[in-house]
């Protein structure tokens, strides 16, 4: 019997821990190469067996099984029940929902908050007011009144209301009595000189309120800005 003829029988015998048989044993006694192979195969079989035993009890952790069973249960839950699953109320989902709700309420609250109305709104602007507004070109002040009415400003009648969020500015200038009268300030008909005034303007340049200043550039008497 030749070496290549018994190689398969050697390996299979070693794998199965069987006696290779009389013929093979006889060959092994006369062939050092095959004897070496037989020894190596026998040795390998022992280690392979040990490796098999070592892994035999090993398996996935119990958490894997639990996870899979939960997934399976979730997959086969009735559709309606899936909508109302507890996971909706799980911490992550809960906080996400709460955050979304707060955001939504904030947006609604901000969008519905009325714009600061420092000046009383009135209906239609008069042609006189429009004419006066076109004349404004005095100094602009950044010191806007917090409460115009309390600070002596008189609302200009018949002007359109402020748009939400519309900014106001104050201009200082000299106005003649006629212009003041057109803005709703009661003036003495005897006055002829121009009077210093603070005019509250909207972003559209329209005057929204007016206040006669205490002093004028030429030192004339102040107008009565308190009554309107």
């Amino acid at each position: 019997m030749h070496c290549h003829e018994i190689a398969d029988r050697l390996i299979e015998s070693a794998r199965r821990e069987l006696d290779p048989g009389r013929v093979v044993r006889a060959h092994l006694q006369s062939c050092a190469t095959c004897r070496d192979r037989w020894d190596a195969e026998e040795s390998l079989s022992v280690y392979v067996k040990a490796l098999r035993f070592a892994a035999w009890e090993q398996r996935s952790s119990p958490e894997v099984r639990e996870t899979l069973m939960r997934k399976f249960a979730a997959q086969h839950r009735p559709v309606l029940a899936r909508w109302f699953t507890w996971s909706w109320f799980a911490p992550r989902g809960y906080w996400a929902l709460a955050a979304a709700a707060v955001l939504l309420i904030s947006i609604v609250a901000v969008s519905q908050k009325p714009a600061p109305r420092n000046v009383a709104a009135v209906s239609e602007p008069t042609s006189e007011v429009a004419a006066v507004s076109g004349d404004f070109s005095g100094d602009v002040s950044a010191d806007l009144p917090v409460d115009p009415e309390a600070e002596g400003f008189i609302a200009v009648p018949f002007v359109p209301p402020l748009a939400p969020g519309e900014m106001l500015r104050v201009e200082h200038r000299e106005l003649n009595p006629a212009a003041l009268a057109s803005l709703g300030v009661s003036v003495d008909p005897a006055w002829t000189t121009q009077l210093p005034a603070d005019v509250l303007l909207g972003e559209d340049g329209m005057p929204r309120a007016v206040r006669v200043s205490d002093t004028s550039s030429d030192g004339s008497a102040p107008a009565d800005g308190g009554s309107f």
Binding site: R37, V48, A50, L51, F53, A54, R59, T67, M69, Q75
Partner: protein
């Protein structure tokens, strides 16, 4: 009465959790061990075994009884996942080199043989070419007969047999080299 995998699968698809659990208990250990031997990593093996069952329960499972056994299908999925894992991991890490890996059980047989050689064999198995390694894992480590292994690997019985014999030749040679080196070192 023994219920077939395929019957359990049909029950499982109808929502029978017990059938799914039975299938898991029956097939998970071998799938895990297969992946463990193939990848050399306990974490990868767990991931592979889990993913096989995730795919099994998926609504669009592509298992077709007419085309083969459920076990064969599961091993097919596991084989693909193992390939992905090995590509992800690059070179195979020797089992036991990571402290998170399960250590070799000190069983009776283990105490009888040299632990160093055993560790070397584990590494040598993971370093075999894929087809050889699979033959060793299925036939020698999982004790499948040639017909079963051939079905799982989708090749003729003779091919499995010759792959196994060549693989064993490589492994035996490695062990012999290791022993020779150790003997020379101690001498």
């Amino acid at each position: 009465m023994h219920t077939t995998d395929e019957h359990l699968f049909r029950l499982m698809k109808k929502g029978d959790a017990q059938a799914f659990a039975a299938l898991y208990e029956r097939r998970e250990p071998a799938l895990y061990r297969y992946a463990l031997h193939m990848t050399g990593s306990a974490a990868a093996a767990e991931e592979v075994a889990q993913e096989v069952f995730v795919q099994l329960m998926a609504p669009n499972t592509r298992f077709d009884e007419a085309k083969g056994s459920l076990e064969g299908w599961m091993y097919g999925v596991a084989r693909n996942l193992v390939r992905v894992q090995r590509r992800k991991a690059g070179a195979p890490a020797p089992v036991g080199s990571d402290s998170s890996e399960p250590s070799f059980d000190p069983n009776v047989l283990g105490r009888m043989i040299d632990g160093e050689n055993l560790a070397a064999l584990r590494v040598a198995v993971t370093e075999l070419p894929d087809s050889y390694r699979e033959a060793v894992v299925l036939c020698d480590l999982e004790e499948r007969n040639y017909e079963e292994a051939a079905r799982m690997m989708g090749c003729p019985v003779g091919t499995i047999r010759s792959r196994l014999h060549r693989a064993r030749g490589l492994l035996a040679a490695k062990l012999k080299r290791l022993n020779t080196a150790a003997y020379a070192g101690s001498g």
